[in-house]
């Protein structure tokens, strides 16, 4: 065996050990040891991993300053894995005192048994006025007489337009400002006018429209045609004639080459890099536009494609864990109320506040995209309220994807999705007879 110069195994071991100690120590120093005694600790979980997290953190800092007896610590987990981790941690007793849930995920969390009723917060002095919220939202959040949380915002899907492209296509008001297309004819007209094979300013083709998250794009059309997810007895109704009609519109867009083939998340990318004139996406995507400084954008309701206006929406709901001790409960309620009271600040991050009084605030009206998206609230629908929401939506997403990729006809795709979704519903009824008496 050759001897290898000055290589020393003991030195290597020592080196690794020192690195371990240093990095471990630094981690501990940065992440641990911030606990101040005498304050009630409230852990607050959410999935605000984008720019919205920064706004939320600022609101929390203000709260902590104004409430010296409480310390709220925010923990962010990406939405993709959020609900699983929340469910597991919650059932371990390790989870947070307060957490954000999308309205449509609450049925699932309720089954896990750690969401508490907050209806007491809407009664008595200093209460959050229930009449300050839209009845549709409050009904959605009430289950068997329990109020599952206080809605913080409403985030509908809406239309984002590129102002320069609107103007170039002649979509201007009398006083020369850009305006968004309002109905089917205008929408298709703008797509045709903004689809340019060779735009001298771009390396390649400019598109009039692009799919973002095609499942959600489809869902914003469903209410326009009167489509639903479930019927009154909780059975799948995905293949209703209304839904098929809505999907046929998207099929037409794809077939006639009015949008590039759907590509993961890159419709939005095309929009923000000025290669797409219009996309439909959630109001929360505004946070991404706010950090760009060279894009002139305009928000508007989804154009009315079907017989009536409509879009899909959801809410971030503030929930309090069940079985907290009195001190934690009081502090949690105080924080939830504080957030609700400060939802105008939250709106600035790219949200529509759930409170009607805040939406009527002149300050809110100044927020162009948010207030334009808020116009859709009377016609919005939420995803279905069911514990198997994730699997259900997956089936629908697959159906939509197959159609926009030209692999299946709308009716066949929705028939298949309906059969599969119904099978999931029935499996769930079998596995959880207690929920389905």
């Amino acid at each position: 065996m050759k001897r290898r110069g000055s290589f020393s195994i003991h030195g290597l071991l020592l080196g690794i050990a020192v690195l371990t100690l240093l990095s471990g120590g630094a981690r501990w120093f940065i992440l641990g040891g911030s606990a101040v005694s005498g304050r009630t600790h409230i852990s607050f979980w959410n999935g605000f991993t984008g720019p919205d997290g920064i706004v939320m953190l600022r609101i929390i800092e203000d709260f902590n300053r104004q409430n010296p007896d409480v310390e709220v610590v925010m923990q962010r987990i990406p939405w993709a894995t959020y609900y699983n981790k929340l469910t597991v941690a919650g059932s371990d007793g390790r989870g947070p005192q307060i957490f954000v849930s999308h309205a449509d995920a609450l049925a699932r969390l309720r089954r896990a048994g750690f969401v508490s009723d907050v209806s007491a917060m809407t009664q008595g002095n200093n209460a959050i006025e229930i009449s300050d919220f839209d009845p549709y939202v409050m009904n959605y959040l009430s289950m068997e007489g329990d109020l599952m949380g206080i809605p913080l915002d409403i985030h509908p899907q809406g239309l984002y337009c590129n102002v320069d492209m609107l103007k170039a296509a002649g979509f201007v008001t009398d006083d020369g400002k850009a305006r968004a297309p309002k109905d089917r004819t205008e929408f298709l007209d703008l797509i045709r006018k903004s689809t340019i094979e060779k735009n001298p300013k771009l390396p390649e083709k400019q598109w009039g429209f692009a799919f973002t998250y095609w499942g959600a794009n489809f869902r914003s059309l469903m209410p326009q045609f009167g489509g639903r997810f479930l019927d009154e007895s909780g059975n799948s109704e995905l293949n209703s004639p209304q839904n098929i009609e809505a999907l046929e519109f998207l099929q037409m867009i794809a077939k006639e080459n009015m949008a590039p083939p759907p590509d993961n998340g890159l419709g939005w990318f095309g929009y923000r890099t000025k290669r797409v004139a219009m996309v439909w996406d959630g109001v929360f995507m505004l946070g991404d536009l706010l950090r760009l400084n060279d894009l002139d954008y305009l928000g508007a309701p989804i154009p009315q494609i079907g017989p009536q206006p409509g879009t899909v929406a959801n809410s971030h709901v503030l929930c309090i864990k069940a079985n907290l001790n009195e001190k934690e409960r009081e502090a949690s309620e105080r924080f939830v109320k504080y957030l609700s009271d400060h939802s105008l600040e939250w709106a600035a991050a790219g949200q529509v506040p759930a409170r009607i009084s805040v939406r009527n605030d002149p300050e809110f009206k100044k927020l162009q995209v948010q207030s334009a998206f808020a116009e859709q609230i009377p016609h919005m629908i939420y995803p279905p309220r069911t514990p198997i929401i994730f699997e259900f939506m997956l089936e629908l997403d697959v159906a939509v994807e197959k159609v926009v990729r030209g692999q299946m006809e709308p009716k066949a795709a929705l028939d298949l999705a309906n059969t599969n979704a119904q099978a999931i519903i029935e499996r769930d009824r079998r596995e959880h007879p207690e929920d389905n008496p």
Binding site: L12, A17, S23, A89, R94
Partner: protein
């Protein structure tokens, strides 16, 4: 066999093709966000270090410094634990020849056939019981149980001559002394290789932290980078700059230990 000069150029060209994406990443990391993904210009219009500034500021959105620290801690602790346990175990089995040692070794090697993914779900359930989810130990401790290190060091130690150790024992050396002063240095190169392999595997591991970590502040670099993609909209400049920073330590480790790595990589391949 005749050698063609042109082949030299072809191979260099292929080599460059393989590193071209790195060059692209390097240039892109100095571009402004709006410019990053424009295919028509590879070099930045104006060199701009704002991506690196953003990383050094350690934003709330993407606490890259903490991810880096987490990665270092997890990878070094895993490496330390793996080489310690594996060398002790291999020593006990091959040098001290404990009774039943070969059966144990057989069992360890046998479990290496089971794909790592099979362990994911049960480990999740077990780590949850041990209250280790969302801590670095959820990654460190299970990695230390892997059989590869024991297998590799056992086969190496078995090939060592016993004469030096026997002489040392006659000189009154104790068994722990023998391990520390004689066996360990003899195994130096192969332990170094094991260390580099373990470090790289741990550093680049994606599915384990994705499954076992919860909070953004407990992320390692690979899941952190993937987070850029999942959170609302990808900031490509930042993603690419972070990727370069995440890769740098491995490239350095690779260049330093290149000989050991390539030798043992091929050794494991040629033995079959």
């Amino acid at each position: 066999m005749r050698k063609y000069a042109s082949l030299n150029y072809v191979m260099v060209a292929i080599g460059l093709l393989f590193v071209a994406p790195f060059a692209f990443m390097f240039f892109a990391s100095f571009k402004r966000e709006a410019e990053v993904l424009r295919p028509e210009a590879i070099l930045p219009k104006a060199w701009d270090a704002s991506n690196y500034e953003a990383i050094s500021r350690n934003s709330v959105e993407a606490p890259i410094n903490i991810w880096f620290l987490n990665s270092v801690f997890i990878a070094t602790a895993t490496t330390l634990l793996v080489i310690t346990l594996a060398s002790l175990t291999a020593f006990a089995i091959t040098r001290l020849k404990v009774r039943g040692g070969n059966i144990i070794l057989g069992l360890i090697v046998g479990t290496m056939m089971i794909p790592a993914q099979l362990f994911l779900i049960p480990l999740y359930v077990i780590l949850r019981r041990l209250h280790l989810l969302d801590t670095p130990y959820a990654m460190i401790l299970p990695s230390a149980a892997g059989g590869f290190g024991v297998f590799m060091l056992s086969s190496f130690m078995r090939s060592l001559p016993t004469a030096i150790e026997e002489a040392a024992l006659l000189d009154g050396c104790t068994l722990p002394q023998m391990f520390w002063k004689i066996t360990l240095p003899l195994c130096g190169p192969s332990i170094a290789t094991l260390a580099v392999f373990t470090f790289i595997a741990s550093w680049n591991d994606y599915i384990t932290p994705l499954t076992f970590m919860e909070s953004v502040t407990n992320y390692t670099l690979p899941v952190g980078i993937a987070l850029f993609q999942s959170s609302y909209s990808t900031q490509y400049g930042l993603t690419i700059a972070t990727s370069l920073i995440a890769t740098a330590p491995l490239v350095i480790a690779f260049l330093v230990f290149q000989k050991q790595i390539i030798e043992s990589m091929t050794a494991s391949g040629l033995k079959e």
